[in-house]
């Protein structure tokens, strides 16, 4: 009787296992389709009926506060020009996630695609298709490979961004210098890698920085939790660490939160690129002395005007072309089709309350 009961039990368990495998297969299919659908956050705000064209903004990721400020500037400019503007993008900043959105924009017949690339090459083939369909490509914030776009709107000269961060850390470390580390975004992020390259070159060539020693670069993938743990790991692995540069808004905020609650507060300097609203608390409690950024709204603003100029033929992306970017005045296309918005701004206890973004 007992024996029968047990074998019956295991038999039905086998049946259930088959059911479980089936359920697993079904759910894998669900996940696969769900993934494609889950990033599908779109917002469209049409600006006027008889519009000169349509502009699509493709940020690195949606629901990111920095991206929002950039897009706010883009929307303002699109409104002034009369473009019908929409924003498409993934919820996660990964290399391949942008591709389906570029394809969608192409199918919808966008005249201008403004993109911040998560990876300079992964988006290439789909941008090529978009151009063949007649779209003008403006890269902003983070460049694609130059072959795939008409112009790149850069916040600031990349070299300046790298150097201003080095200047700040050098000032905060004082005369004796010491070991520093970099907490970056993803290992493939174009803009961060460029700034880091300038920092490395300057450290190697400028005798003023001879006493500063860059020990490592780690990547927090623009994820608050990961960046937080990377900051912990840095301080554990390098007991002599005197400073951290984090050239990404997520990284600097996560590192600041960790430092402000640890024994290292005030002993390890932290600087980089941050949003005033995120960093205000840490500047006031003394964890961070000074950090920098540009006004992100201007970036989106200039990108939209660059799109218009490309579309109506004012510029072609050749060096020396000029166009008027609304209230910000005349902008010039530099070498490699790069348009520079303006110099970075430094934020510290004296001026941080003047900014709200």
């Amino acid at each position: 009787m007992e024996l029968f009961h047990i074998s019956g039990g295991s038999g039905s368990r086998r049946g259930r296992r088959i059911a479980a495998v089936a359920a697993l297969a079904a759910s894998v299919a669900l996940v696969a389709t769900g993934c494609a659908g889950s990033g599908d956050a779109t917002s469209t705000d049409s600006a006027g009926g008889d519009s000169p064209g349509s502009i699509v903004f493709l940020p690195k990721q949606l629901n990111n506060p920095y991206t929002d400020v950039v897009l706010g500037g883009g929307d303002t400019a699109a409104g002034e020009i009369g473009f019908s503007a929409s924003t498409l993008g993934p919820l996660e900043a990964s290399a391949s996630a942008q591709v389906p959105f570029i394809e969608q924009a192409t199918q919808e017949g966008a005249n201008v695609i403004v993109i911040a690339a998560n990876d300079p090459d992964a988006v290439g083939p789909s941008l090529k298709q978009a151009r063949e369909a007649g779209a003008k490509i403006v890269a902003f914030d983070s460049d694609t490979n130059p072959d795939f776009r008409d112009v790149f709107v850069s916040q600031v000269v990349a070299k300046d961004v790298g150097l201003v961060q080095l200047e700040m850390i050098s000032k905060q470390l004082g005369a004796e210098g010491g070991d520093i580390a970099i907490l970056s975004a993803t290992a493939t992020a174009t803009n961060q890698n460029e700034w880091i390259k300038y920092i490395e070159d300057e450290l190697a060539s400028n005798p003023d920085y001879a006493n500063i020693n860059l020990v490592t670069t780690v990547y927090g993938d623009d994820d608050a939790d990961k960046s937080f743990k990377e900051a912990q790991g840095l301080l554990q692995s390098y007991p002599n660490l005197k400073g951290i540069i984090s050239p990404t808004t997520v990284g600097i905020a996560a590192a600041a939160k960790y430092l402000s609650t640890s024994d290292y507060k005030g002993k390890v300097a932290l600087t980089g690129l941050g949003l005033p609203n995120e960093m205000r608390e840490f500047v006031k409690d003394g964890t961070v002395t000074e950090f920098a950024l540009w006004d992100p709204a201007q970036l989106g603003y200039v990108a939209a005007y660059a799109g218009q100029a490309l579309l109506d033929g004012t510029i072609t992306g050749a060096e020396g072309d000029t166009f008027t970017a609304g209230d910000l005045g005349e902008k010039t296309v530099g070498a490699d089709g790069i348009i520079v918005v303006g110099p970075p701004t430094k934020f510290n206890a004296d001026n941080i309350d003047d900014y709200d973004f």
Binding site: S38, N64, Q232, G233, Q236
Partner: protein
Amino acid sequence: MTTTTVLSEKTPAHERRNPVAAFVRQREIPVAAALVALVLITFAINPLFLSPQSVKDLLLNATIMIILAVGQALVVITRNVDLSIGSIVGLVAFGTGSLFNIAPGMPIPLVFLIGIVFGGLLGAVNGLLVTLAKVPALVITLGTMYIYRGILSTWAGSKQYFSGDNPKEFGNLSVDTFFGFPIITIMAVVVVVVVAVILGFRRGGRDLYAIGSDPDAAKLFGIPTGRRVMAAFIACGALTGLAGILYASRYNSVGALTGSGLELDVVAAVVVGGVAIFGGSGTVVGAAIGAVLLSTITSSLTATRVDKFWQQAIVGVLILAAIVIDRVVSIRNTRKLRVKEARDV
């Protein structure tokens, strides 16, 4: 505690005679041994790994995972799974930020109560769907995972709450210590002990094992399976809610993406901790140790500067090892039982 399958309560007499062997056969022991070895090896490579600040960080990093793993273990023991917990953490964490935004002076215990009840309600939705629809929990909670995340994305948009927006005492909660132990870690240990006692010694807790071992037999035996599974999901949701509040206290910002991807880490911790993925066996103590092990691996690989890629590979190997051990143990138990019963007939 014996190995906690209902079947194995009838452990053969010769095994009972050797308490040392029985102790070593506990599923928690290999996991705990791996944890100790990991800490010692890392300490040997980088002595800073056990500095007071680092120990505090290790405990704090593990705390949220421990609470989540305990909740998940309750559900997994009943042969179910809850994949929506990452989204629940996000909803509760963002809800906590919103509460402080609306009512800055709100007493912290009240915030905890609201968060736990909120999490419990979300868990109850899972429980209801699983028990009424009779569809595997894997599919149901995969659905609610996306639904809850969708609600959060709509609610939060690009809004984020920063630690500066919360009262100072709330942020300090996650770093304050009591005789060197972080307060929230003590909280997690209390949770583990309470749930372990209920699971090990209370009727309702033992019923969960019976349901996980064989749901049909449990029903025939008169166990209210629907009610018990429902209770497990509610408890899981409530504990996840607690974790969500602690998340808001510990990290700098909460927003639409908070907690995403957490569910798989937690299921991994539970499985590594010796809770059988097909239900019926394992303990919350094991799950908690599994959680500490996985979060410590991250820290120790960072402290020894090993490539991040290896971290994921190591977690994968641990999961496979745990599943293989689980299979071997259960096949051996079944065979022993058969032999014993054949002899008794």
